[in-house]
Symmetry: C2
Subunit: 186 residues, 2 copies
């Protein structure tokens, strides 16, 4: 218990929010499992919604760090490795879908800070994909980036609601079909 209280709270909240949903997990449970006093929690986070926002922003930061950690190769290989990585994550037994999509489902108001944090993550991911498309000289980077975003969202849903093991082998195929230079095999 030598890690700072704020970190323990955020780590515990991340685990519970992701596994069980935001509205399904109360502050009392978070502070109990984090081993933190209630006053300490409200010292670091002014409200539960701010904790949720911090959770989303932290997940976004981690995703960006993970993407930065991938050793850059050709734009095409970068794109494929991003989607392959999604398949790896999606195949984990603890996988419960995308934290951003799941959180957004619990915050219907697009103006809510949590939704805005989700929008920031999405803008970053879309930019990542778009940059690779431009770098590889794709003839239609705008539209293709949009469709790859759709593919991304569909994959995180599919890995959660369907069988990720069946989905994983076709990710590369799907990306290549969207990129448009790979005819469908008979």
């Amino acid at each position: 218990m030598k890690t700072p209280a704020r970190d323990r709270v955020l780590d515990t909240a991340t685990r519970l929010f992701y596994a069980e949903g935001v509205h399904a997990v109360g502050i009392d449970r978070i502070i109990a499992e984090a081993g933190v006093a209630k006053a300490t929690f409200y010292h670091h986070f002014p409200s539960k919604d701010e904790l949720v926002r911090a959770y989303i922003q932290d997940q976004s930061r981690r995703a960006q760090n993970a993407a930065a950690g991938l050793r850059p190769s050709t734009p095409r290989a970068n794109l494929l490795s991003v989607f392959d990585y999604m398949g790896e994550i999606g195949g984990s037994p603890a996988y419960r879908g995308c934290p951003f999509v799941n959180a957004a489902a619990e915050y219907p108001d697009p103006a809510h800070p949590v939704r805005q944090a989700v929008a920031e993550y999405r803008a970053w991911f879309r930019g990542l994909v778009h940059t690779q498309l431009v770098a590889e000289g794709h003839p239609d980077p705008e539209r293709t980036a949009d469709i790859l975003m759709v593919l991304r969202d569909g994959l995180v849903i599919g890995c959660d609601l369907d069988d990720a093991r069946e989905l994983r082998p076709l990710i590369r195929d799907a990306v290549l079909r969207v990129l448009g230079d790979q005819p469908v095999a008979g």
Copy 2:
């Protein structure tokens, strides 16, 4: 107020669950807005979770009725019209994403009856797409149906979290790319 109490409850629950989320809406509010006594509610639905399941099953039934109402044409046209229809729905100002995906996000346990009702809808939709692919003689109907399912999920997310008006014009393009016989335009 001459419609039966059960219908008023289900209609009100559908409206509120979809607009605000399942956990965010309490029984007290549903019965108040439906103009129904609490005992009447619990007479028709043994628990809130059963109401949620009825809501999901009702949405599934409506989707299947809507699909049955589309006048059948060529398999290719059927496929495109299904996805076009999704774009129409997704462009509505009241659109808040897919009720099945949103509900599943609030019920992490795959064994929960609500999740099973969602799974039944998904199996139906996947079968609908697969049938059309087989009918048009597609060389890879299994894998293509899976990817179109991914596309479906990505579209409902994108129409909710991004701008549906930007997404709609590229739906047909995305479907054709997945079907694999349409090269990307320069």
